[in-house]
């Protein structure tokens, strides 16, 4: 660079000026793709209307109340896949706590893909604990069996332990009042 002008462009360097906008367009393209094609909607779970896979998960450290497939039989419940690394879960979480406080339906949690077993527990202490039972799934065994595509994701399980619905992404008040709550009431009447 000795004694050459730092900012004077030669013809060959002109493409450098196009680089920033190029990088940005690639990023924007990725966002646009996702927007046009949300994964939760194009990939319905293989498991809809099938019994939940057999599993038995360890409880979160110090929390007790572990989760196994047997616990999902007997009453209608929600199974929520979460993780302390998942930012959209933070967004969803206060609403789950609200649902828990109304007592409408038990919510069970699967703490997925944690780096350290304590992370999920710390996270629940930080943001509140909406779960009845909760299990630790560090190696994605149960998540894979459930066909989870990402977190948060929530399964509606009927009283016979059959998966009836899958919602990808955070549960919002709209999703709750328009889809999940009517479905749960429906399943209870059956």
């Amino acid at each position: 660079m000795r004694d050459t002008p730092a900012a004077a462009p030669s013809g060959r360097r002109r493409w450098l000026y196009l680089l920033p906008v190029g990088v940005f367009l690639v990023l924007a393209g990725i966002f646009a793709l996702q927007l046009a094609d949300p994964p939760g909607q194009v990939l319905p779970s293989e498991l809809i209307d099938r019994p939940v896979p057999e599993f038995a998960l360890e409880p979160l450290p110090g929390r007790g109340r572990p989760l196994t497939s047997e616990h999902l039989k007997g009453e209608v419940s929600l199974v929520n896949i979460f993780g302390s690394w998942c930012v959209a879960c933070v967004q969803e979480h206060p609403f789950l706590v609200d649902i828990k406080n109304t007592g409408d339906v038990p919510i069970h949690g699967i703490d997925w893909n944690e780096r350290n077993p304590e992370d999920g527990m710390k996270w629940l202490q930080r943001f509140g604990d909406p779960y009845d039972r909760a299990g630790l799934d560090p190696d994605s065994e149960v998540a894979i069996a459930f066909g989870v595509t990402g977190a948060p994701e929530t399964f509606v399980v009927d009283r016979n332990g059959v998966i009836r619905y899958k919602h990808s992404g955070p549960i919002t008040p709209t999703v709750w009042s328009k889809t999940l709550k009517p479905l749960i009431e429906d399943l209870r009447r059956q």
Partner: protein
């Protein structure tokens, strides 16, 4: 009473603001291009009216919060009559819709500042910059009105609101978003002036002198905002940590890194009339990252593709807004920047060279953190599976970037413009090198000298190197010990305030580095159950649990523990950590008790009792953590001092040939 119409008034003012912003975006710009003075002159009144309208709108929303008007969906979802007044008001920006309105209000304040204080700016540049500000305002007001309107009414008015997350009922957090937004939006000034300069095809020292103080304002607020956020996480979350590398924190840190680079490269444009295209690009990128940060923080839109799906209208709108603003400005850059004339020449070893090195390292750091933040999203989009990027990634890439930067930070200010004398500069840093080596050795001895301590000792050595190097540079400037003391003192009083600003800011960073190093390397954490009367020793300090009390606050019930803190039998005081359970929504929070000595923090958290009446407690020894906060304050103080420099108060001079600017005293 007319008061029930207040929300409509606010809504209407916002619609009017949209109309005014359209006028402000188009008319002054066209006027400047075609040379119609009347159209150019419209920029000023438009910005003033815009400010008034947005203020009315914001006041109306705030009023609805203060009187708890639950007929507004936004108030009902985020407020509650039991909330203290301060948190009713901070509730206005504690949610997505209201925070967007605050964003626009701050933008209007900055536009007003250009309109009113920019009297000595060339009218064309001012009109074009205000037009760009108008375009940004248009985009945001459209976004608010169509996807995030805080003035939407509810058909059925609820009895009471749904409260606010009790974690947010905290003075630190109440003022955290406004600080961050003052920083984010402050960078819009550099952006607007960069676009205006690209349209004009001219960048010179006067331009740089105008954008520097604004960039500095934004930088000071962002520094304070990040510090405040980190401090809040530290005392409120109860895990004794102050930085988690989570996307929300990164969102504010990335523009800070880019903005710091911008601050330094604008100095080169001002003093030496070179690095122009780069500075323009940095101005665009810094504001673009601020936009990204805005959406990451409040709406969570860019954190997960799942959030896109949950509200597609908002997602599409934000994407269009980003494409228009960032894509448009970068395209303009690609077309116009190659024509900008390069200025002064410089050798690699020179003040310019060292500032360029700072720029390269800062931008690489910003790009790295951005990549880490977006990578999980990109991986998900490209079906590479679920990835989480955490502390280990950032530590592995960030530390190696910062080490050469801090090493160079002590040297750079000692180099001359154009061509520096590196051996000479290094010779003058003998004291810094010596003390830094001593710090390395001393740390090693004090902490017990294992191989694991090398990193920590190295970090402390770097902090000392930077602190002493910064002081040496100051001493050189006033020729301390080389002139009689009186002459040195008179030199010290005549130094420009911006020079003091730099010294303070660099010294502040040295404090921060010491804090980061010590707290990451030598923090001690103990978790246990304790019975009343039991004592636990943490890093030489004795914590004795002497009492537990149940009390009721205004909207929570609390369990307060009392610890007697002592060292070697000498009592140091009482610590009273709390565990609160709020009423609406019912949510537990921890209020850690922190005892600060000048050097260290002792940190205590109390949890629920177990069935034998013992309490879960977490006790921490946090070495040098207070220095993090002192360091942030010192850095911000440096920025403020620099802002008060005479040449900014006098304002930018008329555009002058580059040669004159170069004759300014070196900073």
């Amino acid at each position: 009473m007319i008061t029930y119409m207040v929300p409509e008034l606010g809504h209407f003012a916002l619609v009017l603001a949209l109309m005014v912003s359209l006028v402000q975006s188009v008319v002054p710009l066209v006027g400047a291009q075609r040379g119609i003075p009347e159209w150019v002159a419209l920029a000023r009144p438009a910005a003033v009216v815009m400010f008034i309208l947005v203020t009315v709108s914001f006041v109306c929303l705030t009023w609805s919060y203060v009187v708890s008007d639950f007929s507004l969906a936004n108030v009902a979802a985020n407020s509650h009559t039991d909330k203290p007044l301060l948190y009713k008001i901070s509730g206005v920006w504690g949610n997505h819709e209201g925070s967007m309105l605050l964003w626009v209000l701050i933008l209007a304040v900055f536009s007003l500042a250009v309109a009113v204080m920019g009297g000595n700016l060339p009218p064309g540049l001012k009109a074009r910059a205000l037009s760009v500000q108008g375009m940004i305002t248009t985009g945001f007001v459209l976004f608010i009105l169509f996807t995030s309107n805080p003035f939407v009414r509810l058909a059925q008015v609820p009895q009471n609101g749904e409260g606010l997350n009790p974690l947010l009922q905290d003075p630190g957090l109440a003022f955290h978003p406004p600080m961050l937004y003052l920083g984010y939006v402050g960078f819009s000034m550099a952006f607007s002036f960069a676009i205006a300069a690209l349209i004009e095809g001219r960048v010179d020292a006067a331009w740089a002198r105008w954008i520097r103080p604004w960039t500095l304002v934004a930088w000071v607020f962002l520094t304070l905002g990040i510090g405040l956020g980190s401090w809040w996480a530290y005392y409120e979350l109860g895990w004794g940590g102050w930085w988690f590398w989570d996307p929300v924190e990164n969102a504010s840190f990335i523009p800070w890194l880019a903005g710091t680079a911008l601050l330094h490269s604008a100095a080169v444009v001002e003093k030496r009339d070179t690095l122009k295209s780069w500075t323009i690009l940095l101005a665009i990128i810094t504001f673009s990252l601020s936009l990204l940060g805005t959406f990451l923080v409040r709406s969570g839109v860019l954190t997960s593709v799942h959030s896109f799906a949950s509200d597609p209208t908002r997602g599409i709108f934000i994407l269009l807004l980003l494409i228009f603003t960032i894509g448009g400005s970068l395209t303009l850059f690609a077309i116009r920047a190659p024509a900008l004339k390069g200025g002064g020449l410089f050798a690699p070893v020179s003040r310019e060279g060292s500032l360029l090195l700072n720029n390269l390292l800062m931008s690489t750091a910003a790009a790295t953190v951005l990549l880490g933040t977006l990578y999980p999203l990109i991986a998900e989009a490209l079906d590479l599976g679920k990835v989480s990027v955490g502390g280990p990634f950032y530590n592995a890439v960030f530390v190696p970037l910062m080490v050469p930067m801090i090493a160079a930070m002590a040297i750079g200010p000692l180099l001359g413009w154009k061509r520096g004398d590196l051996p000479g500069a290094l010779k003058r840093l003998w004291l810094a090198a010596g003390l830094s080596a001593a710090a390395f050795a001393a740390t090693f001895v004090v902490v017990g000298g294992g191989l694991d301590e090398v990193m920590g000792a190295f970090g402390m050595a770097l902090a000392v190197w930077l602190a002493v190097g910064t002081l040496v540079e100051y001493a050189e400037r006033i020729k301390l010990f080389r002139l009689p003391l009186g002459r040195s003192l008179s030199k010290a009083t005549s130094l420009p305030r911006s020079a003091y600003g730099m010294t303070l800011a660099h010294f502040g960073l040295a404090l921060v580095i010491a804090g980061i190093t010590a707290s990451s390397c030598w923090k001690v954490e103990k978790t246990q159950t304790m019975a009343l009367g039991e004592t636990v020793n943490v890093a030489g300090y004795d914590f004795t649990l002497t009492g537990v009390e149940l009390t009721d606050g205004p909207n929570y019930s609390s369990l307060t523990g009392t610890f007697e803190l002592s060292r070697d039998g000498k009592p140091m005081g009482l610590m009273t950590p709390e565990r609160r359970v709020y009423d609406t929504p019912p949510m537990p929070t921890t209020e850690a008790a922190i005892h600060t000595t000048f050097l260290n923090d002792l940190y205590a958290v109390i949890g629920e009792p177990d069935d034998q009446g013992r309490y879960v407690t977490r006790l921490y020894f946090e070495p040098l953590v207070p220095w993090l906060w002192y360091g942030c304050l010192v850095m911000a103080a440096g920025g403020l001092l620099s802002l008060s420099d005479r040449r900014y108060r006098v304002g930018a001079p008329r555009r002058a040939p580059a040669g004159d600017a170069a004759a300014q005293p070196a900073e």
